[in-house]
């Protein structure tokens, strides 16, 4: 390996990043913009879910219950209806996401402590809102039972006050507010910091398309010099992003950072190496830029979203998917980011993931170097 060759390729690629507007955007600005978009879009809080109520009981108790349910910000009473047909009509027209049907024996059964007969109907085409409505109604129903029980017990023995018959104490660690943002933003870092992988894939197929690769093949430059020289500038830019973007996450999105920043930076650099090597493979195999773009989405971004455990826990995946997840740099990096930001763990916990990223990066480079020949056709 000649350091002069390596430096020539690195320098040329660096000039390309800073002089080509599209590459500059993709590598330097896009990660930040993407983080903003995704963090806002994915952490939208559901509020004011419209529901309808069909009250067959029409008692004072049921009216109080309905008032309590719709008192907060979470559920909005769209209509009080008289028949099930009206509920179906409202659901079909999308006016409501859920409906609460109160049994004719509601007040009587609750008074005699036999239960709380009611039914919740939700719109399964929008399970998020529907599920949210179920959670809210269950939680309010629990409250309501608590109040009713407390009132009845107190009637039997007035000396008892401040009663809380059901008392479930929930403690959420690392993200006390259970705010989706706090958990998502560190996870999303693996995707936004992986953006330069797309550019590195495109830069190889771009040279192939424009014929400059043919020219390079006719020179004495070696394959490794070429591939590494192309990767180095993107790693450096990635390291810049690895400082900038966490700072944005901490300041703008108010994400706590409990770990060691230096360690995080070091592990991020290894992640850059791994994800960029994956980009190199894409560039080596794909003949044109559109093909490289398509394959990047297929092997880098979609799996990055769905298989790396950012949204769906890996433990819940079928075995084959879990194996695939292991081969994705994002999987290991998501653990590192969550560790560094939220749990604040150190190298004693994170080292296997760093090693794994390094091993993945080396294997990707090896595959790329084997299949990348200085030949056409």
């Amino acid at each position: 390996m000649s350091s002069r060759h390596l430096w020539a390729i690195t320098r040329k690629e660096t000039l390309h990043i800073f002089r080509d507007r599209i590459t500059f955007f993709l590598v330097i600005l896009a990660p930040t913009i993407l983080l903003f978009f995704m963090a806002y879009a994915l952490s939208v809080e559901i509020k004011q879910v419209p529901i309808a109520v069909l009250d067959f009981d029409r008692s004072a108790t049921s009216r109080t219950f309905i008032n309590q349910i719709t008192a907060g910000e979470d559920l909005a009473l769209y209509a009080q209806v008289g028949t099930l047909y009206e509920i179906e009509d409202l659901l079909m027209r999308g006016k409501i996401k859920a409906a609460l049907v109160i049994d004719p024996n509601y007040a009587r059964d609750l008074g005699s402590m036999r239960g709380m007969p009611m039914q919740v109907i939700i719109d399964g085409t929008e399970p998020q809102s529907g599920g949210f409505a179920i959670d809210q109604i269950s939680w309010r129903a629990e409250e309501f039972i608590n109040q009713t029980l407390a009132a009845q017990i107190q009637a039997l023995d007035p000396s008892l006050d401040d009663l809380q018959p059901i008392d479930l104490r929930v403690r959420t660690w690392y993200n006390p507010g259970l705010e989706p943002r706090v958990d998502l933003v560190p996870g999303l870092l693996s995707i936004v910091l992986g953006m330069p992988a797309l550019s590195v894939a495109l830069t190889i197929s771009n040279e192939r398309e424009h014929g400059t690769l043919e020219q390079l093949m006719a020179t004495p430059v070696s394959r490794t010099e070429l591939l590494l020289g192309k990767m180095i500038p993107y790693i450096l830019v990635g390291m810049l992003n690895a400082v900038l973007i966490p700072i944005i996450a901490i300041i703008v999105f108010d994400i706590p950072f409990n770990g060691n920043f230096l360690l995080f930076f070091l592990l991020s650099t290894i992640f850059m190496f791994a994800i960029l090597s994956l980009g190199i493979i894409v560039g080596v195999f794909m003949p044109t830029q559109p093909a490289a773009l398509a394959l990047s989405f297929l092997v880098i971004f979609f799996p990055g979203f769905f298989l790396t455990g950012i949204f769906f826990p890996i433990a819940a995946m079928p075995e084959i998917m879990r194996l695939e997840a292991l081969a994705l740099p994002g999987t290991h990096y998501a653990i590192i980011t969550r560790g560094a930001f939220l749990t604040g763990v150190g190298l004693d916990v994170l080292w296997p993931y760093g090693v794994m990223l390094f091993v993945l990066g080396c294997s990707f480079v090896a595959v790329a170097a084997i299949f990348f020949r200085k030949k056409l056709g």
Partner: protein
Amino acid sequence: MDARPAIIETQDLVREFKKTRAVDELNLSIPGGELFGLVGPDGAGKTTTLRLLAGLLDITSGSARVAGYDLSDQVEAIKPHIGYMAQQFSLYSELTVRENLTFFAALYDVPRAELGDRKDRLLAFAGLTEFKDRRAGHLSGGMQKKLALACTLIHQPEILFLDEPTTGVDPISRREFWDILNELHLSGTTILVSTPYMDEADRCSRIGLMFEGQLVVCDTPARIRAGIKGEVVELQLEGWQAARSMLEDLPGVLEIQTYGESLHVLVDSADRRMPEIQDALDSQGIRVKNVRHAPLRMEEAFISLIQGMEG
């Protein structure tokens, strides 16, 4: 024919693609210092030949030696000795003229001490000195070609492979480009250039005509012209459109080319056919303003040869 040893030599060189045999048992021998022109119709295998010789394609069978190295197992050893300019050569458009030169100089390990001097000379040579800080993407087509040539010359290669280097370049730039090639030729560089332009082929020391992957004719331009069984009759007449379609059917007429208001008729024998053409035109009432026996152009020689192959 030539006592100098061959610097480029192929023996039954074959390159097959999925369905076609682009180069079919090619035997080519080029002595050092020659300016060799490769001509032939599109798809004859010129580009494949140049790519094979530059080590960019695997050989299917046969053998080739370039600069004393075997193409099948010493490909990388060849590369420092050659300069290769692809047909759709494109430079790094975001780099300046000078940065492009520096880049290729580094890849070819040009000694740093010589680099500044060589760059200055090549820039002057290519007439690019005043554009040295301009981005390659902002140069005209002709200047880009000259810069591309300068980049392939930075390491002073012994052998130059140029694949249609002047396609899409205006006539003045084309002439300038060929003046540069002539200077290189005089300084002893071996040049293998493919071209679709017959006037360019005429400037080579030897021409090889490729057809269906083989070298069918290989000789000096003068001798190729001399070997053609055909002569050109130039006609200036009124109503050449009607005359053209009529003449095409006459016996002995091989090819008709239109040059403005005149027709170049390639015939097997001018002495024999000239009166016949005259008679035929008279019978149709087409007035002939001028008839003369014109010299055979390389283009007509080439067409005649190709028609001989196909027909």
